[in-house]
């Protein structure tokens, strides 16, 4: 089924307002679009429509801000996603779109072609400098990167994240989605499995589908979590599992030409509801609770070959360096094993950072306490701003070699 691809496509925008209304306001992508013409028609018929309707609030917002769609769309040559006419890059996968737009949809005379304003390129993601027409920063010389290769999401000064291609990889297959609604914060990190094609599109679709589901649990949301006490924690855990299912469906729906190598990704998500933090994960992306004055707590257990070896009593040193060391044993995708997210819960009693990250970060800092120091050090240098701190951590990972995509999501908890 391709239908749930009419999701609101929450998409990082950089200037999220701080006080959201009670309607879930995940950050929305700047231009709405359908992946294909049939999906909107099939929408209502789909059993997933229940969840689909939950998105309508955000969906409506997005449509309200963007007038045109459909008529002027172009289709990504790599992942098949639709984009606004004049787009230079696919919003799903970041592939350059240089082919001719669908001739049937070519709006000769509608002015769409004329108003291709030389979109002022966004500032350099490394230093904030101006990016020249030749594609390099005028300050630091870094090459411009596509929106897909580096994006930042800020829900508030204390909740934000950065997703980056890193140094070595050609594509960014990590994804990040986070938002805040009715006092509930939700964060999602997905890491595309690079051996599978279109995993960059898969991870983005997964993170966005999961976030929409999770924010539906906020007060006033479609799936408002209203139990109390232990039942409340269980309700969030159930919603985190459901979000994983929605994410899995989104991954399965990503078009691919390779039947025997389905797009796939990891999943780690966290909900912050008052002092309660509930986490779920599939694969090896991680969540940590890093209190300022107590020992760091890793909230996730990897679904990985290395972890399985460890559980069998094999020492870490023997696992490291093995070709399988980074292989994961569970993931989201059409060829995934039975979906069984692992859960954990922590009650926040003091100030600290909640960190979600892909292995692009933790591979450079396996020790949880060291990771805590690293986060605090960078936070201190950036006045405790979550997005700026995440950006600094991404830069740090890149300076260590940036051998993988790197995603960092942070929430400052405990006041």
């Amino acid at each position: 089924m391709v239908t749930e691809t009419t999701d609101p496509d929450p998409r990082p925008v950089h200037d999220e307002q701080e006080d959201p209304p009670t309607v879930p306001t995940a950050p929305v992508r700047s231009a709405t679009h359908d992946r294909d013409a049939s999906s909107s028609a099939a929408d209502d018929a789909d059993p997933g429509g229940a969840e689909g309707s939950g998105d309508s609030g955000a969906d409506g917002d997005a449509e309200g801000t963007e007038g045109t769609e459909d008529a002027a769309d172009v289709v990504c040559p790599r992942c098949g996603a639709a984009g606004a006419a004049g787009s230079r890059f696919c919003e799903e996968c970041g592939a350059p779109i240089d082919g001719e737009p669908d001739p049937a949809a070519q709006p000769d005379g509608t002015g769409a072609a004329d108003e291709l304003p030389e979109t002022p390129s966004r500032p350099c993601v490394r230093c904030g400098g101006r990016v020249a027409d030749d594609g390099y920063c005028e300050e630091c010389g870094a090459p411009a990167v596509s929106e897909r290769d580096h994006f930042e999401v800020t829900a508030s000064p204390t909740v934000g994240g950065v997703c980056d291609r890193g140094v070595v990889h050609a594509r960014n297959e990590d994804a990040l989605a986070l938002g805040e609604a009715g006092g509930v914060v939700a964060l999602v990190v997905c890491d595309g499995v690079s051996s599978a094609p279109a995993s960059d599109a898969a991870s983005l679709a997964a993170s966005e589908a999961a976030l929409a589901t999770l924010l539906g649990g906020a007060p006033g949301g479609e799936r408002e979590v209203d139990a109390e006490g232990a039942a409340r924690t269980s309700a969030w855990a159930a919603l985190l599992t459901e979000a994983a299912e929605r994410a899995n469906e989104a991954v399965v729906a990503v078009p691919t030409t390779h039947v025997d190598d389905a797009p796939s990704c990891t999943y780690v998500a966290a909900v912050v509801d008052g002092a309660r933090v509930v986490v779920a994960s599939v694969g090896d992306s991680r969540a940590y609770w890093l209190p300022d004055r107590a020992r760091a707590v890793r909230l996730t257990v990897d679904d990985s070959w290395a972890q399985e070896m460890a559980e069998m009593g094999v020492h870490v040193s023997q696992v490291r360096g093995s070709a399988h060391a980074h292989a994961i044993t569970r993931w989201l995708g059409a060829d995934a094993p039975e979906l069984r997210p692992r859960h954990d819960t922590v009650t926040v009693a003091e100030r600290g950072w909640l960190l979600l990250c892909s292995d692009g970060l933790w591979n450079y800092c396996e020790d949880a306490d060291e990771l805590g120091s690293l986060v605090r050090r960078h936070a201190a240098e950036h006045d405790g701003d979550a997005t700026a701190t995440a950006r600094a951590l991404v830069e740090w990972a890149n300076a260590q070699g940036g051998r993988d995509n790197v995603t960092v999501a942070l929430a400052r908890l405990g006041g």
């Binding site: 390099y136 920063c137 005028e138 870094a142 140094v167 070595v168 990889h169 260590q400 940036g402």
Partner: protein, 425 residues
């Protein structure tokens, strides 16, 4: 409408930990013969050495050459003739004329030829005074005028301390272009080179006075064809980088580094003077902080600018790689011009040592020059080296100094040392 293009030759791949990026950037102007907005105003000043040493055949030939040169100067061009000894004199327009420069037209041409014929040789040599007068004259012309001068001498700049000339050249930099010529065997190659280099012109040795006229004709013909009055080379380097050097490597070697001006904190500017249809190549070296393997970064933007308009831009890149096959390669262009720069240095140091009587150093340096000339395919240098040394083994650079050499041959070798050959393909 003149067009510029930029081409970059480099190996952008750097090994882990490497920091230095080298590139050869070729700037080519086409269509420069047709001035951008109608005919451009141009001014020409011809400086003739009138010191006592000139008396005789040289002086007569120089007078003749200056007269021939007037025929090449197009009607409408501002011009003046300067006679230079220990002082500078305006020969034409006459000292009592109402205007210091006049536009060329048939009557002015005829009168100027007459004035040149009346010049007399006598006195010493203080070239800074000649250049200052040329600057005063050209400075009278409206902004945007293409300013060009030629200077002919036959002797050393012996009537003033050396630093006078150097200081004057520093002050006049960028104000006009000056091509400098030495005639005969008594002038100082390094002095003529210093003038030409500082004032963005060419320098050459004229062996025989009979060749002066052809040389003048050629210089003025080329000057007339330079439709771009002034262009600036700009080199942007990223924050935290260091511009190690910028040198012109073709058609002749000229270190631009000392002429660096600040365009903005990240961009250095270097005057390049006027352009005709031609290519010039620059060796740019930048030191950037090392980055992790896989990183890409722009190490330099090398641009040619007229007015405030960027006419062409070449990108020098750095990409760190762990693939030794990629990082070990040296760009043939960079290697070639690095060798040619070393060749020039070896020739100049060898000749200086020989002049100072240090035969051991001269033998080693000129031997190295023979080797480098062979490696870089500079046949003109090899031919001229053969007149100064006997080559025992060209490949290994073993030579013996010739016992009796013509000073003119040594001067010709010195002069040609900065002229480079293009990369063999």
């Amino acid at each position: 409408m003149a067009q510029f293009t930029a081409e970059v030759f480099q190996n952008e791949f750097l090994a882990e930990g490497s920091t230095d990026v080298h590139a050869i950037v070729r700037m080519t102007a086409t269509g420069a013969g047709t001035p951008e907005a109608g005919p451009i105003d141009a001014g020409e000043v011809i400086m003739i050495d009138t010191s006592g040493s000139m008396a005789g055949a040289s002086f007569a030939a120089a007078q003749h050459a200056a007269q021939v040169a007037l025929d090449v100067i197009e009607d409408g061009t501002w011009f003046a003739i300067v006679g230079g000894s220990h002082v500078a004199n305006r020969v034409f327009p006459y000292p009592n004329a109402p205007s210091s420069m006049v536009r060329m037209e048939p009557a002015a041409r005829a009168e100027a030829k007459r004035a040149i014929g009346m010049m007399r040789a006598g006195g010493g040599t203080a070239m800074s005074t000649w250049l200052q007068l040329a600057d005063q004259l050209l400075g009278l012309l409206p902004p945007g005028t293409k300013r060009h001068a030629i200077l002919l001498t036959d002797g050393k700049n012996e009537s003033e301390p050396k630093h006078h000339l150097t200081a004057t050249l520093e002050r006049l930099q960028g104000r006009f272009r000056c091509d400098a010529r030495g005639v005969g065997s008594r002038y100082e190659v390094a002095e003529v080179r210093e003038i030409a280099s500082a004032l963005l012109g060419s320098d050459e040795l004229i062996r025989d006075p009979s060749q002066i006229a052809d040389s003048f004709r050629q210089m003025l013909g080329e000057s007339m064809a330079r439709g771009i009055p002034e262009a600036q080379l700009r080199v942007w380097t990223p924050q935290g980088a260091q511009l190690l050097f910028v040198r012109q490597v073709s058609p002749k070697l000229d270190d631009l580094t000392p002429r660096r001006t600040v365009v903005n904190p990240l961009t250095a500017g270097f005057p390049t003077g006027s352009w005709g249809d031609e290519s010039r190549e620059y060796h740019v070296a930048v030191r950037v902080p090392s980055k992790p393997v896989g990183s890409e970064q722009l190490a330099a933007r090398v641009q040619i600018v007229t007015g405030d308009q960027v006419r062409a831009s070449g990108l020098v890149k750095a990409m760190w790689s762990s693939d030794a096959n990629l990082t070990a390669r040296i760009s043939p262009e960079v290697a070639h011009y690095t060798g040619q720069a070393e060749l020039a240095e070896a020739i100049q140091q060898g000749l200086a040592a020989k002049a100072a009587g240090d035969e051991a150093t001269a033998t080693v340096k000129l031997g190295r020059a023979v080797q480098l000339a062979r490696e870089t395919g500079n046949e003109e240098a090899t031919t001229r080296l053969r007149k100064v040394v006997d080559i025992e083994n060209e490949e290994q650079g073993t030579v013996r100094l010739k016992r009796h050499t013509d000073r003119l041959d040594e001067m010709a070798l010195d002069t040609v040392s900065t002229k480079t050959t293009r990369v063999r393909r």
